[in-house]
Symmetry: C2
Subunit: 359 residues, 2 copies
């Protein structure tokens, strides 16, 4: 097992990465301070791992809350269901929530923990590649609004992240590929060497070789932890982690949070950011081709869904959280491994990018 | 105009207290950083003060959001309506919300500001005595849940509090009296001298003498600011501000947040806390009588509403935020001006208190 630290003063916490961690009772107990424990999970993950987790927590008689599976359920209404369960169980401020699932479960459970009695503790138990390498780390919690993704939320750091690599064995290929998009992202924004390593190891990764998975998760978490430690509330460099996300959130919102996985939208969005960067001469066209190649090898989409027109996407992008006073800022690439946030792009070229990604 | 400071490091902010402050454009502009401004108010306050506020903000073309009036609308659903309006207006992270109203408007607007895009700025423009002396100061924001008051919320400090004493002229008597309950509270928990002053000046206060109102608001805010500065997130002495509130929240929840004003429930709750303290011998019976006398003179209720049985109240009290691991802690009095948080009360005496307050 490896332990990384997210360094945030009194809000610092460990990320445990290794095999069979879900059945390591000691890890949980290190972070639970009262006897009131609730495991929040979904209908897909519950049959696979809920009993395994519950067995480690026997002495706490944990309450469980099983939600429907899917991004379309990451809503204020479903968050309120978690709150109702907490109140019915008479849980007080010292209680602890365990988020057992992917990004949706982590985000909604984290937000419920942020709001319940103005803030209680929670532990992330990510069960997808995407949540292990990205969403479970860093304390961004949120639910979606019909007009914009992650528009209602809070910065609320977990007490710990327990990333059990073994659970990736049961992950379906599509979810594995979607998570890979966020792994590739770290290479693109700040780690050229990691991107080179990914290009070489992509087939081993897709074959789920254990040492390659472990290295990818650990290296991604290390990158994420470094960025979050230096800019918790995204007033500066943390925004770089959103490479491709302005495009991606517009795609997801336009599709009503159904049909595409978040990582799939991020893949297309990152390639659009690369394409737009190349149109400005900031990124070599050959590098955009390298990025496309890795995404295609990862079986990720590199075109927009057919139902979304360029104009509609542009409209949806304008509510992005990186907008300031109505001016949209984008994360673009100044070479592989070097992302920038800028509003000094040519709107005409942005339209060309949107048009060229139409299927 | 007097200016008090809530000292919280980078989150410090001023409380402006004085006459005709709502038409002081310079005060607003000192704290608004972008051109995106939304005024949130309710149907009672809007006809009285919305135009006055809007005129000072002409250059920002402020968006307005007028909510129905009443504690029963302090819900997650109504909070979501504010979020929808913000998204429709394409407001970004640098926007600013202005909460023009009483405690309900301040709490729900503050919570919307805490959650929108994971946190934007807001300014409190309290228009009731209760919000000027208590809820607008300190950054506690929340909405209610059918199973418990203020159970969904956040600590999110405002950018400034602008308390215009002139607006108290239009406040109806019942609201004025309700606010007085929270003023009396400061005397009871930490300021015996202030309690003595209140006993003497109560008739001047009820006659709305300007210097008496001003002194009461300023002195209350000074007490609140001191407590909040030393314990922002209520890990210690801030809990003392909840004198009477465990009883009060149970009353309000039991009544479905209708019928009684918050300050009225607090009045009865404080007297119940005093009564329970006297039953333990911690507070002289004569002091409980003094407290009752001041509350009666303030035309505040000193009996429970007829529809709530003692057993039901006890049940509702058990979900209080001061419960720890299922054990209810109460704020009680060790003499006037000296509140304590304790779980070392006799449950039998608590039942006696609940029974003796039945109408």
């Amino acid at each position: 097992m490896n332990v990384l630290n997210v360094d945030l003063g009194t809000r610092s916490y460990p990320i445990y990465i290794g095999y069979d961690l879900l059945q390591d009772a000691g890890l949980y107990k290190r972070h639970i301070i009262s006897k009131q424990v609730m495991v929040v999970t979904n209908t897909t993950v519950a049959p696979l791992y809920l009993d395994r987790v519950r067995r480690q927590l026997d002495e706490f008689h944990p309450v469980t809350c099983v939600l429907p599976d899917g991004e379309q359920y990451k809503t204020l209404e479903v968050m309120n269901e978690i709150i109702t369960r907490l109140l019915q169980a008479r849980f007080s401020r010292t209680c602890c929530l365990l988020a057992l699932g992917g990004g949706v479960i982590g985000d909604i459970t984290g937000f419920a923990a942020a709001c319940y009695q103005r803030g209680v503790g929670y532990i992330q138990l990510p069960t997808t590649l995407l949540s292990q390498v990205d969403s479970a780390v860093g304390g961004k919690t949120a639910v979606n609004h019909p007009l914009g993704k992650n528009m209602i939320g809070a910065f609320h750091q977990p007490l710990a992240v327990i990333s059990d690599i073994s659970v990736l064995d049961t992950l379906n290929d599509r979810e594995l590929h979607a998570g890979l998009a966020e792994v590739i992202k770290y290479g693109l924004i700040r780690d050229h060497e990691f991107f080179n390593w990914l290009e070489i190891n992509i087939t081993h990764f897709l074959a789920r070789k254990r040492d390659v998975l472990m290295h990818a998760v650990e290296h991604s978490c290390r990158n994420k932890a470094e960025v979050v430690s230096s800019d918790e509330k995204e007033s500066g460099i943390r925004a770089l982690l959103n490479l491709g996300h302005t495009f991606a959130h517009a795609i997801e919102t336009g599709l009503g949070y159904q049909g595409w996985l978040h990582g799939e939208a991020v893949a297309t969005g990152m390639l659009m950011a690369a394409d737009l960067s190349s149109r400005h001469g900031w990124l070599a066209a050959a590098d955009t081709d390298r990025i496309r190649k890795v995404l295609v090898e990862s079986q990720l989409p590199v075109r927009l869904p057919s139902s979304l027109a360029s104009k509609q996407l542009l409209e949806l992008m304008s509510v992005d959280k990186k907008a300031r006073d109505g001016i949209l800022h984008l994360v673009l690439l100044n070479g592989i491994g070097n992302a920038i946030v800028t509003n000094e792009y040519d709107p005409g070229l942005l339209l060309q990018t949107l048009d060229s990604f139409q299927p």
